[in-house]
Amino acid sequence: MTDTLTQLAHRLYDGDAQAVAQLTHAALSEGLTPEDVLNRGLVLGMQRVGVDFRAGELFIPEVLIAARAMHAGMAVLRPQLASSGVPLAGKVVLGTVKDDLHDIGKNLVGMMLEGAGFEVIDLGIDTPPQRFVEAVRRERPALVAISALLTTTMQGIVDTIEALTQAGMRDKVQIMVGGAPVTQAFASQIGADGYASDAASAADLARSLIESRRVMPGRAV
């Protein structure tokens, strides 16, 4: 790996948005491909943030400043990625279910997914099932990520999955779920494809679900 990419990953880990933007420019100027700058610089730095967040070495504020630095780098890189046709890791429709107003955890998941190279369509909080259905129809994502923070709104996850099924879209997307009261057992019980207990795990899960789709007949990414 080049010195510039190494520096890029380090500065992103530190949350230095200004340095990340400068180093992204520098890496492109050195002739590195947008794909390398993304995956071996920005995404690598964010992966390290995720690892240390899960290990309890970093906390939410450190994830927030790293995500902000990631945005600064992507602002430089996005036009290059678009013009060179580099595929992102995948598209995710993300939202907190109806009647649930909590967004901190969902936002962290969105940041970690973007940090893993996904395009995130954030539907926000208090999202009715039909809004998920419309977003899936419009955006054609590979993944739908559904959050609920209250025991009473967990049913909203079930309702959303049911709405996607009724709309004939269930087999077109993979569904990952999370939130304080949600467990792996609940996720399995309601037929979700995956459960993540924290934002960093959600990014790992998204990657593994995408990978499983690549080898799953009949499910194109």
Binding site: G15, R54, G56, F59, I60, P61, E62, L64, I65, R68, D99, L101, H102, D103, I104, G105, N107, I125, L150, T151, T152, M154, A180, P181, T183, S197, D198
Partner: protein, 358 residues
């Protein structure tokens, strides 16, 4: 609506004995908050007054009345009717819609905002119901004041994401808010500690999520735990007990919480912390309150499931003393009343000392 009958009279000494690690006549029940609709179902009439509220706590088997004071949820206090300050309007103006703070609704983003913020007076933080309640309190009952928040109030004033970024971008602003909130809360505590009706303080301030701390322990050791130590000392000097509430996994803070001098820890979320391990780690230093799982069985289980879990907790924790049964958070309106009743009834039936459960 229900047949709940407490088997004994209120006795704050029962509560105190368990909070201080001992074995009273029966395992006490303890809850930081119960939704008014649930209270009404238990009491058999709407909760329209402080007298109704007190009657609920007595009928449901508690030895105290839990009342709010101090700065609680500034981010939720945006309307003129719900200004920042004590939540003393909850009987006739309690919100029916669910609310929560959002990342972009912080009210302080700069030092200018900080200076202009309509900070409450100490009088605002010591609501009249803390003294008015004396006329309704049955013999044997005291008030536990659910005191205001420091960490939570600070981040809610900014919005969590803004707060998290400001730790790095504007540490002087973060420090100013922490300092202002702490000084207000301490001033309120001083007044509350002087009240005869108050038997203890319940400090509610979430610092963790299910997997660990919300922010670096360094932040909390700098701004939060020193303030708690001071306030717990004030409570103890006034002869009051001090309970600490935080959701989430607190392993990283357990030593800090014990060092603050708290008497008890609440609510010990099962998903975040195993209560038996918590007992092992805190033996002799903290009594434990709660841990009956709000998700399952309290919300999604049957009354039999609830009774089973209460039985397990009493068998595992009560014989050594220092355990009080309650939910792993609070009793919101989505907990079926029959499940809440099942929890209380199980304590009445199974929690008599000496504990005969294996």
């Amino acid at each position: 609506m229900n047949m709940l009958q407490r088997p004994d009279k209120p006795d704050f000494q029962r509560f105190l004995t368990a909070i201080r690690g001992g074995c009273p006549d029966r395992v006490p029940v303890a809850e930081a908050a119960v939704h008014n609709a649930t209270k009404a179902a238990i009491l058999g009439r709407p909760i329209r007054s402080l007298a109704d509220d007190v009657a609920f706590w007595e009928k449901a088997g508690y030895d105290f009345v839990c009342l709010f004071s101090g700065i609680l949820d500034p981010a939720l206090s945006l309307s003129a009717e719900r200004r920042l300050g004590a939540r003393d309007d909850r009987y006739d103006k309690a919100p029916t819609e669910r609310e929560w703070s959002h990342k972009e609704t912080g009210q302080i983003a700069s030092m200018t905002d900080f200076q202009a913020y309509p900070w409450p007076s100490v009088d605002d933080l010591v609501p009249a119901h803390l003294t008015d309640v004396a006329q309704y309190l049955p013999g044997g009952m005291k008030v536990i004041a659910m005191t205001g928040k420091i960490f939570t109030a600070t981040w809610q004033l900014m919005g969590f994401e803004s707060f998290g970024l400001a730790i790095y971008d504007s540490p002087e602003l973060v420090e100013a808010i922490f300092d202002r909130v702490t000084r207000l809360q301490v001033a309120g505590y001083e007044r509350i500690c002087d009240l005869e009706t108050i038997g203890g303080l319940w400090f509610s301030d979430d610092v963790a999520h299910s997997d660990g701390p919300l922010v670096s322990p360094k932040i909390l050791r700098k701004y939060l735990f020193p303030a708690y130590t001071r306030m717990v000392n004030m409570a103890h000097e006034a002869g009051k007990i001090a309970i600490y509430h935080s959701d989430g996994r607190l392993w990283r803070f357990l030593d800090d919480i014990m060092a603050c001098g708290f008497d008890a820890l609440h609510p010990i979320e099962p998903k975040a912390m195993d209560i038996v391990e918590t007992r092992q780690r805190t033996q002799g230093k903290l009594s434990l309150i709660g841990n009956i799982d709000l998700d399952f069985p309290l919300t999604r289980g049957s009354p039999e499931d609830v009774r089973t879990q209460v039985r397990e907790r009493i068998a595992a924790l009560a014989p050594a003393g220092g355990y009080l049964v309650g939910s792993s958070n609070s009793i919101p309106d989505w907990v079926p009343v029959q499940n809440y009743v099942a929890m209380l009834q199980a304590v009445f039936d199974l929690g008599r000392y000496p504990i005969a459960l294996s």
